[in-house]
């Protein structure tokens, strides 16, 4: 797939937060990024994520990167 095509990465922060009864603001506070940036990630509008942000999100939620992000099958 050429890199300039739209990505199919889906973020599962919504579900992970709901399962933990956590708000986006609380996660943003714990991770150390702004709510706006985390909202961009949650709503699949992010185009890239720093490894440091992903590490912090995984640490706070106690999950692995694959639990936070997945790639939708082509044509789905």
């Amino acid at each position: 797939m050429p890199v300039d095509e739209p990505h199919r990465v889906v973020c599962h922060l919504d579900r992970l937060l709901e399962e933990r009864g956590m708000t986006l603001a609380a996660l943003a506070d714990a991770v150390g990024v702004t709510v706006v940036n985390l909202s961009v990630l949650k709503n699949d509008r992010a185009r890239a994520i720093r490894f440091s942000t992903l590490t912090a999100v995984c640490d706070v939620l106690g999950v692995q990167p694959g639990d936070v992000l997945s790639v939708e099958p082509a044509g789905a």
């Binding site: 990024v33 940036n37 992010a46 185009r47 994520i49 720093r50 942000t53």
Partner: protein
């Protein structure tokens, strides 16, 4: 670099105001010198001052071996209405180009000050500024020389052999090329910004 020197070289609000005033003055001076004064001279019937590039022989200086050669001498020409109109037309063209260049510099300065230096408008303005300098300045010179030649051609120069200066406005051309290079740097900056947008 020391912090003091770094502060001194920072282009801050004072520098922006200073550059704005300076550019306004440059346009104003060009307007007065290239348009207002020639029109005033025309109305008063004063002669037109035309630069003459010529070698002058001075036997007394030659006799003692003093170096002297080609020089630019102002010649007063009792120009016709058509010649005066041509002088004013070139003056208006000069003022227009200087005003456009000044406006472009101010617009780029404003976009940088507003924190959005890499917008497409900035790149377009820088490229236009480069074109004004690289193309506009030589065109103005090319337009001015025939007018001066026209006025000198009506004079009896008393044996003086007028030369045609083939010097292009190199400073403007080089400055324009540097601005064009800067525009390309802004294109790269815009691409980098697009890459960073959406980075969490």
């Amino acid at each position: 670099m020391s912090s003091r020197l770094s502060r001194l070289l920072t282009f801050d609000r004072t520098d922006r105001y200073g550059l704005g005033v300076l550019l306004a003055l440059v346009v104003l001076v060009q307007l007065v010198v290239r348009v207002v004064l020639p029109v005033a001279d025309w109305l008063r019937g004063e002669p037109v001052r035309v630069p003459l590039l010529s070698a002058v022989e001075v036997p007394a200086l030659d006799a003692v071996g003093t170096a002297h050669g080609e020089g630019v001498y102002d010649v007063l020409v009792d120009a016709s209405a058509g010649q005066r109109a041509a002088v004013v037309a070139v003056g208006v063209m000069t003022v227009a180009l200087v005003a456009v260049a000044a406006w472009l510099v101010l617009a780029v300065m404003r976009s940088i000050a507003s924190g959005d230096p890499f917008g497409p408008a900035t790149v377009g303005r820088l490229r236009l500024l480069a074109a004004v300098l690289v193309i506009g300045a030589p065109v103005l010179t090319a337009a001015e020389l025939p007018v001066q030649g026209w006025m000198l051609g009506t004079l009896d120069l008393g044996g003086l052999d007028p030369a045609t200066p083939v010097d292009a406005p190199w400073q403007a051309v080089v400055g324009g090329l540097v601005v064009a290079l800067l525009a390309e740097a802004f294109v790269v900056g815009r691409r980098l910004r697009e890459d960073v947008e959406g980075l969490v």
